[in-house]
């Protein structure tokens, strides 16, 4: 039987009943797969979390690609020499791809360990967020997915640096090798673009996490209309033939009403020792349980946003550090000609800061579009909440500034005389 046949057969049976039941608001039956029905509630949060995970993976890969590009630039004389001796560009690309596969396999192996520890540590959080009760174990499927992820990322992000490195200008590189030439802007633009993308993704995640945290805050602060501090709640099973009438139930509660916990249990048992008495909790506990999913989602997305931001800052650090190393000679000339240390630091840090500002701006625009996805998970705060956007932008700028300034401040220790004498 096809899906359409099942749908039409069920419609034929169910529609008259539906029409009869919902006369004022017409309804239509719809069949969905059992698995989808069972997971409907957690589908969207899981997809959002996977989006965050993919973003973190993307930032990590972009960082490694940046490292590979910088390394390729350093090794340009080696590649030029290989080409001069008759080696083909394809051999260089293959060599570099194998290097990134080796890196990815090492990273993947260590990543499995980190993932194992992470799933142990965050197991209860995942349980709260998605109602996962199954034991999370390391099995063949997970190993295969991890290996596939590692290989796919290494090929996807190793290819650009490999091709870029193999496109080396033979004569220029061999002549300039060792003379400490000033880095050209054209060679670094892919790395700059990557850093902008990293910062932008970091801001999008940060805004998402911020909105979920504000939602949790709103739910926790929301006044229930009563003081739940000293109010207890318990569940009684009255699914018993003796409690079919309201009078009997009233009689039961009248007996228990005036006594408090732990006397409450004794009171109920004194009236009926056969009655099961369970789930004895304060209303505050009940409330905490009700927001457990929101809390877990906010914590998870917050952790991913923090990791993304840290990786973006590391990416900026790497870019500025390698740019400072490449421009050592230029900065030494500037200082020899009278530039102060402050001016030299600004000259080294400015490109990084400009990239951070561009990244944050693009990230804010992206976050505004992406926040629509969170519409159903955000309560009591607008998905365009200016405070959250401003806080995310400030946090990203602060982290990016730190990531940029640390390598730029190395110039303070630069000795212009020694730097100019070095080849």
């Amino acid at each position: 039987m096809t899906w359409a046949q099942a749908e039409s057969e069920i419609a034929a049976v169910a529609q008259p009943v539906m029409d009869d039941l919902y006369r004022t608001a017409p309804a239509r039956e719809h069949i969905i797969p059992l698995q989808r029905g069972e997971t409907e509630r957690v589908r969207q949060p899981i997809l959002i979390l996977w989006g965050a995970v993919a973003a973190v993976l993307l930032i990590g890969c972009v960082n490694v690609a940046g490292l590979l590009i910088a390394r390729g630039a350093e090794r340009a004389p080696e590649f030029a020499m290989r080409l001069a001796l008759g080696g083909g560009r394809a051999a260089i690309v293959r060599q570099l791809l194998i290097e990134s596969v080796v890196l990815a396999l090492c990273g993947g192996a260590l990543g499995i360990g980190i993932g194992y520890v992470g799933s142990r540590a965050f197991g209860s959080l995942l349980g709260d967020a998605f109602g996962v009760t199954a034991q999370l174990t390391l099995d063949g499927r997970i190993l295969a997915i991890t290996a596939a992820t590692a290989l796919a990322t290494s090929v996807a992000f190793g290819l650009l640096p490999a091709v870029q490195s193999a496109r080396v200008n033979l004569r220029e590189t061999l002549v300039a090798s060792g003379s400490g030439s000033i880095a050209g802007a054209a060679r670094t633009w892919p790395r700059r673009a990557m850093v902008v993308v990293e910062v932008a993704i970091g801001v999008v995640l940060l805004v998402g996490a911020g909105l979920l945290i504000r939602t949790l805050d709103h739910l926790l602060r929301r006044r229930a209309g009563f003081d739940g501090t000293h109010v207890m709640r318990a569940t009684l099973s009255l699914d018993d033939a003796r409690y079919r009438t309201a009078a009997r139930v009233n009689q039961l509660f009248a007996g228990a009403r005036d006594t408090v916990a732990p006397d409450m249990q004794r009171a109920v048992q004194s009236i009926d020792p056969m009655l099961p008495f369970a789930k004895f909790r304060t209303l505050d506990d009940v409330r905490e349980e009700a927001v457990a999913a929101e809390r877990a989602q906010a914590v998870l997305l917050g952790a991913f946003a923090a990791l993304a931001l840290l990786l973006a800052a590391v990416g900026l650090y790497g870019l500025v550090a390698s740019s400072v190393a490449e421009r050592r000679r230029e900065l030494a000339i500037r200082m020899a000609l009278g530039a102060t240390e402050r001016q030299a630091v600004i000259a080294a840090a400015a490109p990084g800061l400009v990239l951070a500002v561009i990244g944050v701006s693009i990230g804010l625009v992206g976050a505004r579009a992406a926040a629509a996805v969170l519409q159903h998970l955000v309560w009591g705060v607008s998905v365009r909440d200016p405070l959250t956007f401003a806080a995310a932008a400030s946090a990203a700028l602060l982290v990016a500034t730190i990531g940029t300034l640390i390598p730029a401040l190395r110039i303070v220790r630069l000795n212009p005389v020694r730097a100019l004498k070095q080849p």
Partner: protein
């Protein structure tokens, strides 16, 4: 292929800072993918 792999490993060992930072970055990212990938197994 084997020769290229051996050369890649030798280069990695010669530049430990680069290798460690690249491997750690990948490990953390793949690790988070794996730990939340497990959540789908309810």
């Amino acid at each position: 292929m084997l020769r290229d792999t051996r050369y890649a490993i030798r280069l990695m060992l010669r530049r430990p800072v680069f290798a460690v930072s690249a491997i750690l970055t990948l490990a953390f990212c793949i690790g988070t993918t794996r730990s939340s990938g497990g959540s789908n197994r309810a």
